[in-house]
């Protein structure tokens, strides 16, 4: 196996870890208007305040990693997704500063709570749009993006945008359910089933729509032999939904949360099956976009040592803040 493929997997894993982790803390922000009072919002923020920064760092690893190992893809995809990416970044600025600003802003607290909600919502929507715009294909000429600055906007990309908003909200509800007690916990629990239903509906729509986008996806999903890889994915989605429902019925908060994450993982694997082996779908393969082996090898040596270490101390940070958040969240 060569270095470009190894790095393809590493970047894919980094992006998935980002989605799985920042997904739930963006989701908590999306659910903010549904929380009853300031104390509930304090508790909900307390459930993510010690970990959100680490979660978002995976987004930098995804972006920085792309620059390092697939510079051509970075140089083509980012101009193509110019508008959704800039909007996402500005939204993340709003919600990122809101964590501390809402504590120290005195009379402005209401504003920063709205900013936290709005930033989370817009960031999730923009990420979903970027995903859809990438999946539907990007115009490439030579080594550069050749499309216009509105190409990203389509019914398909808006649909994937909405899908991610509901999906993240589902993760957020699962996380609040896991980390809190009392009335907040009960309400978060009651959100999970409707949000999961909406998410699954979007999964069905996007899954049926994707093969229609271009012939390659169609061939991969509906013709033999590649169908063999594709068929188990919808089956596993159905099983996961059943497991989620069981977990909620039994009151197993951790299992319910993990089931929502597995739903994301399955969609992600489905996405991988669609686009493999391209990094810019139907235009540039992983091999074509890869930096020289000397770059890939140099960074891989570090990644082999450092990424496991990062996972260990990230797990340790989650372990330190394990259990239920006390009412009102954390203070320093």
């Amino acid at each position: 196996m060569d270095l470009a493929l190894i790095w393809g997997f590493v970047i894919a894993i980094a992006v998935f870890v980002y989605v799985a982790l920042d997904g739930f803390d963006l989701g908590v922000g999306i659910l903010f208007p549904l929380l009853r009072d300031e104390a509930e919002r304090d508790t909900a923020i307390g459930a993510i305040a010690p970990v959100w920064d680490g979660n978002e760092t995976w987004l930098i690893l995804g972006g920085g990693g792309l620059f390092a190992v697939f510079p051509l893809a970075y140089a083509v995809i980012f101009p193509a997704l110019y508008v959704p990416l800039i909007v996402m970044l500005l939204a993340l600025v709003f919600r990122g500063v809101a964590f501390e600003f809402r504590v120290h802003s005195g009379g402005h607290k209401w504003f920063w709570e709205h900013a936290f909600f709005g930033g989370s919502l817009v960031a999730a929507f923009a990420q979903g749009i970027a995903l859809g715009a990438w999946l539907q294909g990007i115009d490439v000429e030579g080594r550069a993006y050749a499309g216009g600055w509105w190409d990203w906007l389509s019914p398909f990309s808006v649909t994937t945008g909405l899908a991610l908003v509901f999906g993240y909200a589902m993760l957020g509800a699962g996380w609040i359910n896991l980390k809190t007690e009392g009335a907040l916990n009960e309400r978060a629990q009651s959100f999970i089933i409707p949000l999961a239903a909406a998410t699954v509906a979007f999964i069905v729509v996007v899954s049926l729509w994707t093969p229609l986008l271009n012939e390659r996806y169609w061939v991969r999903w509906f013709t033999f032999p590649t169908m063999i890889y594709a068929i188990p994915v919808p089956v596993l989605v159905a099983l996961t939904v059943f497991a989620l429902w069981q977990a909620l019925k039994q009151g197993w908060a951790l299992r319910a949360f993990l089931a929502t994450e597995i739903l994301f993982l399955l969609c992600y694997i489905g996405l991988g099956i669609s686009v493999w082996p391209d990094i810019v779908p139907t235009a540039i393969t992983l091999q074509e976009a890869a930096a020289p082996d000397k770059s890939l090898g140099f960074l891989l040596v570090g990644a082999v040592v450092l990424v496991p270490l990062i996972l260990v101390y990230t797990a340790a940070a989650y372990w330190i803040f394990r259990g239920k958040v006390r009412h009102g969240g954390y203070h320093h």
Binding site: P50, D53, G54, E56, T57, L59, I60, L61, G63, G64, G65, F67, A68, V69, P71, L72, Y74, A75, I77, F78, P79, L81, Y82, V83, L85, I86, L89, L90, L92, V93, F94, G96, V97, F99, E100, F101, H104, R143, A144, Y145, G148, W149, A291, P292, K294, S295, F298, L299, G302, A303, L306, I310, Y313, T314, A317, I320, F321, Y330, H331, H332
Partner: protein, 469 residues
Amino acid sequence: MLESMDPVLLARIQFAFTVSFHIIFPATSIGLASFLAFVQWRWLRTREEVYLSLFDYWIKPFAVVFGMGVVSGLMMSYEFGTNWSVFSDKTGPVLGPLIGYEVMTAFFIEAGFLGVMLFGRDKVGPRLHFMATFLVAAGTLMSAFWILSVNSWMQTPAGYSMNEAGQFVPENWLKVIFNPSFPYRFVHMAFAAYLTTALVVGATGAYHLLRDRQNQTARTMFSMAMWFVAILAPLQILAGDQHGLNTYEHQPAKIAALEGHFDSQAAAPFYVVGWPDVEAGKMEYAIAIPYLGSWILTHEFTAEITGLDAFPREDWPNVHIVFWSFRIMVGLGLLFLGLGVWSLVQRYRGRLYDSPWLARFALLLGPTGYVAVLSGWVTTEVGRQPYTVYGLLRTAESASPVATPAVATSLAAIVVIYLFIFGLGTYYTVRLLAKVPPDSPEPQTRGLLDQGGARAVRILRLLIPGRGA
């Protein structure tokens, strides 16, 4: 109207704006993280309450500033791709892995332990909590290490070759990372971060001393900050001098522009002020000190100095900007040195806390560290134009093929949102610093620097006749 604007110029303005805002926050969080680790270490060693008060006081502004640094930095890591895609494609194989290492060795450490540092004291106990603070501080310095290596490679590229796709590809990683200007730039910036933070901490202490000179937390804060300024200001001038010599060797056009030397000449003067007339190619209204220009750049009075006339006109950076930004930086550096010396004099006289004019001066200089940092960066970044990779890749050939309205709209949005958010953030931070720190009992064991300092003062008193201790 929008169509007629140059998208490269807009992209440059956008990058300059976002990176200028960004650097303010890391400059503070590098310094404050180390300061917090230092006071926490003193607290563990001495159990003096004052150190704990200092920690609790400074952790709040640190958290606000750190958050702003994270989100404004995230923007930077994507901006290379959105606005400078040709640059990214060409330099990615060399610079990308360095940024990859920055993420893996710095950002994750900072982010992973920040939660424990801010919220975990009750959960992990004082020693592990100190470990978390220490690792966050180490992470901020690691981050500076890698990103300054990246910037320095763009200024003084080394250890690379070109491939058939027109990309820079690495040949020798040690030469890439430790490229010729990197050690100087790294030291200069690390000192700048510490000095800037010391000025902010000192100004905060001074502000509270001017209201209540008995407040022990304010006294300790002020005393520690003045030690840092007194030590760092002269060291920074030395580091800047060495950095300048290095720049003269590798980027002589930048030096010629910032010195306002249009003509190559022996025994060149130093222009204290003046107005560079770029069309006529000479310095107007100059106050010049003979020979000093040659001495600064070569440490010899009569050496021949390369002027702008040695370079084609299209390779000149903007002379006005770098001439003035350099003078602002150096002038402020001299004021910092003055503050350091004055504080030493007052400390020696035993009047460090009872000198309202010293406190006012420290208060006045509080925010100027940022001005010095920004004007220093303007000098080096405008000075290396018209290139993104010095001598090899022109800025005009680095930008993305993005439509002008897209760049213009995003620039407008970024300016409005940044001014709003970071304006308010600065306001909240200043309001936190205006809160009176809790008074604490006078420390029984003296601070580390004060122990060393007291020894120095005793030696000085022995040396100076008539003031024997």
